[in-house]
């Protein structure tokens, strides 16, 4: 995030920042912007097109699509970065430690990360869902889902961090520090700023991945459950639209979740180009 300061401020970037701030505010104050709750069913007007009362129409159960989008954005954009942060923190810790210690420690952590990458973690998630009480509230369920994604997402970034730290350890300034007797933890701490671009890149690529992963989990009942909306289950609801029945733009308002997701990710890409590019 700090890298943004290193990038020049241009009108385009300013617009992106404003868009992100407006979207964040809209998600945060969703209750004030919509007249209906995200779970209120107005059963006399299911699947209604946009109107003054419902700018994005209603869904199949007569719920306000705008309210659901704003609340869903709040859930996803708050929790996906938290999950990404968790996975990157674990990656920094384990990847850095593996490179720094070398030997059996490195082999163990690398082996574990390879194993994690090769395992069908979906079954682990299904196992966790089976172990969870059925009465787990939607809010707890969504938090557990994202926490699991965060924990399981460490392996790939850890390998990137490990190779980054390994190359830094071979640099002259680390050798110099070692010769001066600087302690290992101190050296590792000093290396962290140098890893920032790599960690940043991992963070920004993980955010959309986790949002989409949550959508896929929703198919198995592992994601966000009714009536709580999330970008994931709103995207899931679009499945029948993309099945090619209608003209792509015949019911354009249904694609608002895609637009919001694309807008946010694009703005982040523009505001933090170096991180995302890496």
């Amino acid at each position: 995030m700090g890298a943004a300061g290193a990038n020049p401020v241009t009108p385009f970037r300013a617009v992106c920042a404003v868009v992100l701030v407006l979207l964040a505010l809209a998600a945060l104050f969703a209750g004030s912007l919509t007249r209906h709750s995200y779970d209120e069913q107005m059963r006399v007007i299911p699947d209604a097109p946009p109107s003054k009362d419902f700018p994005l129409g209603t869904d199949e159960l007569g719920r306000d699509r705008l309210a659901r989008l704003l609340y869903g954005a709040r859930v996803s954009f708050a929790l996906a970065p938290v999950a990404a942060l968790l996975s990157v923190a674990l990656a920094a810790l384990l990847g850095g430690w593996a490179a720094f210690q070398g030997g059996w420690c490195e082999r163990l952590i690398t082996g574990t990360s390879n194993l994690t990458l090769s395992l069908p973690w979906l079954f682990l998630l299904m196992g966790v869902r089976a172990a969870l009480p059925l009465n787990t509230s939607p809010a707890a369920s969504v938090s557990i889902t994202f926490a699991l994604l965060g924990v399981l997402g460490w392996a790939g970034p850890a390998q990137v961090v490990r190779s980054g730290v390994a190359s830094l350890l071979a640099s002259d300034f680390v050798r110099g520090a070692r010769s001066r007797g600087v302690s290992k933890p101190r050296i590792l701490l000093d290396l962290l700023p140098n890893l920032r671009p790599a960690l940043s890149a991992q963070f920004w690529t993980s955010v959309p991945l986790f949002i989409l992963a949550e959508a896929n989990l929703g198919m198995l009942g592992l994601g966000v459950s009714e009536p709580l909306p999330s970008l994931g289950n709103l995207l899931h609801g679009l499945e029948s639209q993309v099945a090619g029945w209608d003209h792509p733009f015949a019911r354009y308002w249904l694609f608002a979740p895609v637009l919001v997701l694309t807008l946010v990710l694009s703005c982040l890409r523009i505001l933090f180009p170096s991180e995302v590019h890496q």
């Binding site: 199949e60 009465n135 099945a243």
Partner: protein, 538 residues
Amino acid sequence: MKQRPAILLFLLAPIAIAATAESPRSGGQLTFALQAEPKTLDGLKAGDENSSLIRYLTGGMLIRLNRHTQQLEPELAISWKTAGAGKSIAFRLREGLSFSNGTPFRASDVCYTFGRLMDPSVDSPFADNFAAGKGKTTCQADGNYGVTLTFPIAINAVERLFDDIPIQSASAAKPESAAMGPFVVTEQQAGVYLILSRNPNYWKRDERGAKLPYLDSLRIEVQRNRDLELMRFRKGELHLVNNLDPESFDRVKSEMPDAARDLGVSIDAEQLWFNQVPSAPLPANKKAWFASREFRQAISLAISREDIVRVVYRGHASPASGIISPANKLWWNSSLKVPATDTAQALEKLRRDGFTFKDGVLKDRTGEPVEFSIITNSGNKSRERIAALIQQDLKAIGIRVTVVPLDFPSLISRITENFNYELCLLGVVISDTDPNGLGSVIESSGAGHAWNPNQKAPATDWEAELDKAMVAQASAADMAKRKAAFDRVQQIIADQAPILYLANRHSLVAAPARLGNFDPSILWPQILWNADHLYLRP
């Protein structure tokens, strides 16, 4: 003289019709999808819908229920005779037939099949229908082509039960490796597809003497996502879709009017039941709620069946009044009314049962807030929407409901093995219109007695009465008495509400014009009921 042209026309008409009648074309592969993999290929164990379909397509039965006429027809048995009001049944078997693996079909195979069926280690869901718990069933072969089955008690209309029993070869290594039906399983990729190839020894021929089935094979793909199934149907990759959801049906209808067909109210129902298994891992207070008739009735009153029909089914369904659909004209109890939505009455019933409703929260007599979960199968949009409607309906009486869509194997495991669930929302598919086919569902000892299966003795008085009424309807010789007994069964279930019947779906199917002999039945398996006669036009 004036009459002559008319007479000539009349005489020539059959010739003209014969000349233009289309000859079915042999060959080709029919492809369609199932939403889940069949749990078993052993027809005697097939309790779930997908396994039952494989049984239907591969199994040779002694007697078949014609899904179109709803009449029984001889199949592997050319004739049968019941004695002792259903205490025994003697079959004369068709001679000169062979299983798909070439072994001859004999009376010993019938006895072998019934030996397996009644074997407790096989745990067949159909054993109860033959009074397995009441004593021993004996099978006596009379030469190679005569066989007599004797049951522990008289079972009325016992001949209808044989539609579910595929005759298996006594010499086959695996039950599914030798079939008497039109197709035989030849290839299976777990979780992906099954190939059913034409049974080379299938005995049926069409009216012109041509060998059946017309199709070389069936490719049955496992496609959990119904949207993708529809997309593939539109692209022509799948040849038929059974049980369309209403939204998809309306879309197919608007795009391909000739392909989509609403067959009207089916005998299937969407149902919600309460877990009343005493050993279920549930808190005691929840068990007490679910065991309370007042509580169950209150839930029933709070649910708007009209909204389910209108919002979820877009009018392609009817509110359900009970276990039997109005489509089953012979057995439907017309005196049962659809429970009217009445939140005030629901709250009154709960109050009488010791519950209190304050500040929008319902609490039981111990002060515990009432909340429970409803499990349903994920990927079924209609069912997920019904669950969401119920969630809001019950919120009005202060109950917090968590909806948990689960993948099908997990759901089946919960409702049949570990009973770790509270309420379950699922559909019931009925393949027979006769009450005897529901024995496993209604009788307390039945494996399909969803709310508390496999009871050694009836857990409640009303379940004992259900058992009694089922025996009465099964053993009554007089049709009016059978109907009266089964009306009583329906009345008890409606009064006690162990299962809430929500809606009877319309039977919605789709198939392209190139599917020959497309003649769907209102009964399961709709389009595929005459699979041996289906063919593909070029």
